[in-house]
C-alpha cells in the first residue's frame, strides 16, 4: 500500500501503535525495499563502515516503531517516498536515489526533504572531465535531453557542449542522428524521454554507426554499448552513508544537503573502445576506486 493513500498523519500513528522493538537498539534505522540486490549490497557496506549499530526494516512499514533518537536512512526511491510522507520530526538521510526521483518526490513542497541526500547520479562535470581526460580528440560533446529536464548542464574547459532539447513525444532516435553528425561524442544523461529501455537500442546503434562514443551514466549502460562511464557501485554509496549519519546525528547539517557520490569507479566497454581506437588510453583505468578525476592514470 502506498503511504500517500493513507495520509501522513495516519501513517505516523500506525508506526507508533504497532511498533517493532528490534529497531530500538540501533542508532540508525535503514528503511529499504526488499528483494533488490543493490539495496542489500549498499546496506552491507553501510554496516561495515558504520561505527554505530545499524538496523534494517523493510517496506511496507506496517507497525514499525521508529523511536525518536534514531537516524532514519531512506534507501531507494520507494523508501524515500514513504519516509518523506511520515514527516519525521527528526533529521533523516536519503541515499541510493536518483536526482530525478528526488525532484519528483519533493515537487510536493509540503514534504520535508532529507537533511542529507546521497544521489546515485554522478556529477555531469565528472563525466565530462573523464571524457576530456581519456578522449583527447573529443572536442564537441552532444547532449540529447528533454525540454522539461531541469538538469543543469555544466561547462568544462576544452569541451563544447552541443545541446539538443526534445519534446516528450519526440522520437529520440530520429533526433539524435543530426546531432551525432555535429559532435565527436554523445553524453548520455539520465532522462526517461531520451534514454529508456525502448530507445537504448536505437541510440547506441546510431552512435555506433556514426562511430561516436557514448559517455554513459551507469555501469549497465556501458555494458549495453556505451563507451565509458564514471559510476558509484551500491557498495561505494553504502560506505558513504555512514559519515553522513554521523554528521546528521551531530547536528552539523543546516540546510538540506544534496550530494553526489564522492568515490567512484570507471567502467569501459573495451569492444567499443577498440572500434573507436581508444583502447590504449582507457587500458587499466577500471582497476581502482577514485576520489577525483585527477587521480586517473
Amino acid at each position: 500500500m502506498h503511504a500517500s493513500r493513507i495520509g501522513p498523519a495516519l501513517g505516523a500513528a500506525l508506526l507508533v501503535a504497532f511498533g517493532l522493538h528490534d529497531a530500538c537498539a540501533a542508532r540508525a534505522v535503514v528503511v529499504a525495499s526488499e528483494g533488490k540486490a543493490y539495496h542489500q549490497q549498499a546496506i552491507a557496506a553501510l554496516q561495515r563502515a558504520s561505527s554505530v549499530p545499524v538496523q534494517v526494516v523493510h517496506l511496507p512499514l506496517n507497525g514499525t516503531d521508529l523511536t525518536a533518537d534514531q537516524v532514519l536512512v531512506a534507501l531507494g526511491s520507494e523508501a524515500l517516498a514513504r519516509v518523506a510522507r511520515l514527516t519525521p520530526s527528526r533529521p533523516y538521510v536519503a541515499a541510493l536515489v536518483s536526482q530525478r526521483t528526488y525532484w519528483r518526490i519533493f515537487a510536493d513542497r509540503t514534504l520535508r526533504p532529507p537533511d542529507a541526500t546521497l544521489l546515485i547520479d554522478q556529477p555531469l562535470e565528472r563525466q565530462l572531465a573523464l571524457a576530456r581526460r581519456l578522449l583527447p580528440e573529443v572536442r564537441r560533446v552532444g547532449v540529447l535531453i528533454a525540454h522539461d529536464n531541469p538538469l543543469q548542464l555544466p561547462s568544462v574547459p576544452g569541451l563544447d557542449l552541443i545541446v539538443r532539447r526534445i519534446d516528450v513525444d519526440s522520437n529520440a532516435i530520429l533526433e539524435v542522428k543530426p546531432l551525432l553528425r555535429e559532435v565527436d561524442a554523445l553524453l548520455a544523461v539520465p532522462d526517461p524521454v531520451t534514454f529508456n529501455r525502448n530507445t537504448i537500442h536505437g541510440l547506441l546503434m546510431s552512435a555506433y554507426r556514426h562511430r561516436k562514443g557514448v559517455i554513459g551514466y551507469s555501469y549497465p549502460l556501458v555494458k549495453a554499448g556505451a563507451l565509458l562511464s564514471a559510476y558509484a557501485s551500491p557498495e561505494l554509496i553504502g560506505a558513504e552513508i555512514a559519515p553522513l549519519i554521523e554528521r546528521v546525528e551531530r547536528g552539523e547539517i543546516g540546510a538540506p544537503l544534496i550530494l553526489h557520490p564522492q568515490r567512484f569507479r570507471v567502467v569501459v566497454n573495451h569492444g567499443i573502445a577498440r572500434i573507436l581506437g581508444v583502447s590504449a588510453t582507457v587500458a587499466g583505468i577500471e582497476d581502482r576506486v577514485y576520489d577525483s578525476i585527477e587521480q586517473l592514470p
Binding site: 543493490y38 531507494g76 526511491s77 536518483s98 536526482q99 530525478r100 526521483t101 525532484w103 519528483r104 515537487a107 541526500t117 544521489l119 546515485i120 547520479d121 556529477p123 562535470e125 580528440e137 522539461d148 531541469p150 538538469l151 543543469q152 516528450v168 513525444d169 522520437n171 532516435i173 542522428k177 553528425r181 532522462d191 526517461p192 529508456n196 529501455r197 525502448n198 530507445t199 537504448i200 547506441l204 546503434m205 554507426r209 562511430r211 551514466y217 551507469s218 555501469y219 549497465p220 549502460l221 555494458k223 549495453a224 554499448g225 559510476y231 550530494l259 553526489h260 557520490p261 564522492q262 566497454n269 573495451h270 569492444g271 567499443i272 577498440r274 572500434i275 581506437g277 590504449a280 577525483s292
Partner: protein, 664 residues
C-alpha cells in the same frame, strides 16, 4: 566531502512543477542505474575498427542512402568503387563488381540482416523482387574482394550486407508516396511500435512503372514485410522477419514468337528467425534459421505450321512453360568470443538445403536438390601493439561440386591510430547453380504429337553437367586513413579467376528452329589487376563528399571470339556523391557516375556504351500539423541520353518527387 560534488538544485526547483511525468514507467529510479539492460553492441554486432579492418569495405549510411535518391535498391550500388549497375530491361536491374556478369550476376553474396538472398535456381539476386522496402534500409556494408571464410559460399567477388531498421528506430507510422516519369509511382506505409519488450515493424509497399520506352518491361509490384524484435532478457533477443513480394513484370517482344510479349509473375517470400545471446562485447551466440521461396509463373504458346512432305501442313501450338520454384532452408550457428586479450574468434557451422522444381527449365518435374554443410572460423590476433593478423577458413561440402576449402590470411600494420597498411591473400569458390549444370530447356512441337510431327521446335538451354566450381585467388595491398570526418581507403589487388563458367552457343541438330542451343562450360582464366580508392570526407559541417574510383587491367585466356569476357570488366569506374547540408532540415545532393563501356555476358552478348550520369536532388523536412514531413525532388540523368545494358534501353533525363510524413 568536496563542495564541487554538491548537487545544484536552484534552477531545478523552479521547474519542479513541470515534471509532469507519470510516476510509473517514465520514472528513472535506481533501477535505471543498476538494473540490467540488453547488450546492444555485442561481439556479434560490432566489427573491427575502420583502421583495423583486414578487408576493403565500403559503407552506405542512412544519410548517403537518402542523398543518392534511388528509385530502387540496386541503384544504390553505383556509388561503390568498381561496381556496375545495369538494367537488362527496365524491370530487371543487375548489380556486379568488376563485370563478368550476365543478367543474373552470380558472383556476389548478398545478405539482408544476415540472410542470403542468392537464388539457387539461376544464381544471383532478384533485386527487382526482393521483399525489401527501400525506406527500411538503414545501412549497407560492402566487402570488396572474396571473403568466403567469413561470409560463406559464393562470397566470390564481394559481399553486400544490408541492414534494415530495428523496429525501435521507427516508432509511429510513415506514409510515403512518390511519382515520376516513365509513369513511375511508388507508395510505402509503415507501422512501428514498441509495446513492452517487443518491437515490431510492418511495411507495405507498392511500385509500378512502364520501364524503357518501346520495351515491354513494365512492372506492378506489391510487397509486405515485417520485423519483430523481442528482448527476452538482458542477454537474449529474438528477431523474426517475414516478407513477400509479388509482381507482374512485362517481358518479351510482340514480334518474337520465341519470346512474345507477356507478363511474368515472380513471387518471392521468406521467413527468418534469429536468436542472439549477447553475453558481452566479447562474447555472443547467434543461431538463425531462414527459408526463402522464389517462384516464377511464366508461360506462353507458340503457334506453328509444320510441313513434313508429303503430308499436308499441320497447325500446332507449342506450350512453353517457364514456371519455376526455388527454395532454400538454412540453419546456422555462430559463436563470437575473445578468450584472450587481443584475440577475437568467430566460429560456426551451417547446413543448407536448396531445392528447385521446373519442368520447363530442367525437362523433368522432379525436384532437384543440393545439400550444403559448412564449418567456418576466423581469428583476429593482435600480435603486437601495431601488428594484427587475421586468419580464417571455410570448409564446405555440397552435392554439386563436393568438398572445398576457402582460406583467407591477412596482416595489418598500424602506422598510428588513424592509418594502417594491410596485405591479404584469399581464395573462394563459386559452386555452379542448377541452371548451369542441369538445364534442359526444350520445346517439342506438342507433347503428344505423333510421328513424324513429334519434332523438337527449339532447344534453348543445355546444362553443362559436371562443371568445376569457379575459383578466385586474390592478393590485396591496402592503405586506410580513418579519422573523425575523413575516411580514405586505397586498394591494390590482383584477382585470378579460373574455370569461369560461360554461356556459349552449341550446335544442336535436333533443334528445328535454329539448329543450336546454348550451354555452360568452364572456359577462360581471367587475371584482373587494379587499384581502387574511396573517400568519405566532410571538409566543412555543411558539405560531405563520397568519392569512388576504380581502374583495372584485365587479361583473359581462352576468351570467346569477341573477347567479351575481358571486355565485361570495365577499366574505369568513378562516382562522386556530394551532400550539401543547407540547414538542419534541408539538403541538396549531386551524384555523378562514370562507367566505361563494357560487354554483358548473356547468351547474346550485349555491348553497353560508356555511362556518364548526373543526378541532382533537393530534400526538405518540414512540420505539418505537428508531424514530421519530407519533400524531395530528384532530377535524374541531367547530362542527356545514354543506353543501358543494350541498345533498346535508352535512359533519358527524368525526374521524380517524393513526399513522406512520419506520424508519431
Amino acid at each position: 566531502m568536496s563542495l564541487r560534488n554538491r548537487a545544484s538544485t536552484g534552477a531545478a526547483w523552479l521547474v519542479l512543477g513541470t515534471l509532469a511525468l507519470p510516476a510509473s514507467a517514465q520514472e528513472l529510479a535506481e533501477e535505471g542505474f543498476f538494473g540490467d539492460l540488453p547488450v546492444v553492441l555485442s561481439a556479434a554486432r560490432i566489427a573491427q575498427t575502420t583502421v583495423e579492418s583486414p578487408v576493403s569495405f565500403s559503407v552506405l549510411d542512412e544519410e548517403a542512402i537518402r542523398a543518392i535518391g534511388a528509385r530502387d535498391v540496386a541503384e544504390l550500388f553505383r556509388q561503390l568503387p568498381g561496381f556496375q549497375v545495369g538494367y537488362f530491361v527496365g524491370n530487371k536491374p543487375v548489380v556486379t563488381y568488376h563485370g563478368l556478369a550476365d543478367q543474373y550476376a552470380r558472383r556476389m553474396q548478398v545478405l539482408i540482416d544476415g540472410r542470403s538472398v542468392y537464388v539457387p535456381i539461376y544464381g544471383g539476386v532478384p533485386w527487382e523482387n526482393l521483399p525489401l522496402v527501400l525506406d527500411d534500409i538503414v545501412r549497407i556494408e560492402v566487402v570488396r574482394g572474396p571473403n568466403a571464410a567469413s561470409f560463406g559460399p559464393n562470397s566470390f567477388a564481394g559481399v553486400i550486407s544490408i541492414s534494415t531498421r530495428h523496429a525501435t528506430e521507427n516508432a509511429g507510422a510513415l506514409v510515403s508516396v512518390a511519382a515520376g516519369d516513365r509513369e513511375w509511382r511508388s507508395g510505402v506505409v509503415r507501422l512501428s511500435g514498441e509495446p513492452d519488450d517487443l518491437d515490431y515493424r510492418l511495411s507495405l509497399g507498392y511500385e509500378e512503372h512502364e520501364g524503357f520506352d518501346d520495351v515491354n518491361d513494365s512492372r506492378r509490384a506489391r510487397q509486405l514485410t515485417t520485423r519483430v524484435d523481442f528482448s527476452m532478457n538482458a542477454t537474449d533477443t529474438l528477431m523474426f522477419q517475414a516478407g513477400v513480394n509479388a509482381a507482374r513484370n512485362g517481358i518479351g517482344e510482340e514480334s518474337d514468337i520465341g519470346d512474345p510479349d507477356r507478363a511474368q509473375q515472380p513471387i518471392n517470400h521468406f521467413r527468418h528467425l534469429r536468436w542472439e545471446r549477447n553475453l558481452s562485447a566479447d562474447e555472443a551466440w547467434v543461431v538463425q534459421y531462414y527459408f526463402n521461396h522464389y517462384e516464377l509463373i511464366d508461360g506462353f504458346g507458340i503457334d506453328t505450321q509444320i510441313e513434313v512432305p508429303p503430308f499436308p501442313p499441320v497447325s500446332a501450338t507449342t506450350d512453353v512453360d517457364f514456371d519455376a520454384v526455388s527454395e532454400r532452408h538454412d540453419l546456422e550457428a555462430q559463436y563470437n568470443v575473445s578468450p584472450l586479450e587481443g584475440l577475437r574468434l568467430v566460429t560456426g557451422a551451417s547446413v543448407r538445403t536448396d531445392e528447385v522444381t521446373s519442368e520447363g527449365f530442367f525437362g523433368t518435374d522432379e525436384t532437384l536438390s543440393n545439400d550444403v554443410a559448412r564449418v567456418f572460423g576466423h581469428a583476429e590476433w593482435t600480435l603486437a601493439e601495431r601488428w594484427i593478423a587475421n586468419v580464417g577458413a571455410m570448409w564446405e561440402d555440397n552435392d554439386i561440386s563436393g568438398e572445398d576449402t576457402s582460406p583467407k590470411v591477412g596482416l595489418l600494420y598500424k602506422l598510428d591510430t588513424h592509418q594502417s597498411l594491410r596485405a591479404g591473400v584469399s581464395q573462394a569458390t563459386r559452386t555452379p547453380v542448377f541452371i548451369e549444370t542441369r538445364a534442359n530447356t526444350r520445346f517439342p512441337i506438342a507433347t503428344d504429337a505423333p510421328a513424324p510431327f513429334d519434332m523438337l521446335l527449339d532447344q534453348t538451354l543445355l546444362g553443362g553437367g559436371e562443371l568445376d566450381p569457379e575459383r578466385i585467388r586474390s592478393v590485396e595491398l591496402g592503405y586506410r586513413l580513418g579519422g573523425p570526418d575523413f575516411d580514405l581507403d586505397v586498394r591494390l589487388f590482383r584477382d585470378e579467376i579460373e574455370d569461369i563458367i560461360s554461356q556459349i552457343p552449341v550446335a544442336f541438330a535436333d533443334d528445328s528452329f535454329d539448329g543450336e542451343a546454348s550451354t555452360f562450360v568452364n572456359r577462360g582464366t581471367a587475371e584482373v589487376v587494379g587499384i581502387e580508392a574511396q573517400i568519405d570526407t566532410e571538409p566543412s559541417p555543411r558539405l560531405r563528399l563520397l568519392g569512388a574510383l576504380s581502374y583495372t587491367e584485365s587479361d583473359v585466356d581462352d576468351d570467346d571470339a569477341e573477347g567479351s569476357i575481358e571486355r565485361s570488366i570495365p577499366r574505369w569506374t568513378a562516382n562522386l556523391l556530394g551532400i550539401v547540408r543547407l540547414s538542419g532540415s534541408s539538403f541538396m545532393s549531386f551524384d555523378y557516375n562514370y562507367v566505361e563501356d563494357i560487354d554483358w555476358l548473356d547468351k547474346r552478348r550485349r555491348h553497353a556504351a560508356t555511362i556518364r550520369r548526373l543526378d541532382l536532388q533537393y530534400s526538405r523536412s518540414l512540420e505539418i500539423g505537428g508531424q514530421n514531413a519530407n519533400f524531395a525532388l530528384n532530377l535524374e540523368n541531367v547530362l542527356g541520353d545514354y543506353t543501358d545494358y543494350q541498345e533498346d534501353n535508352v535512359v533519358e533525363p527524368g525526374a521524380y518527387a517524393r513526399f513522406s510524413v512520419n506520424y508519431r
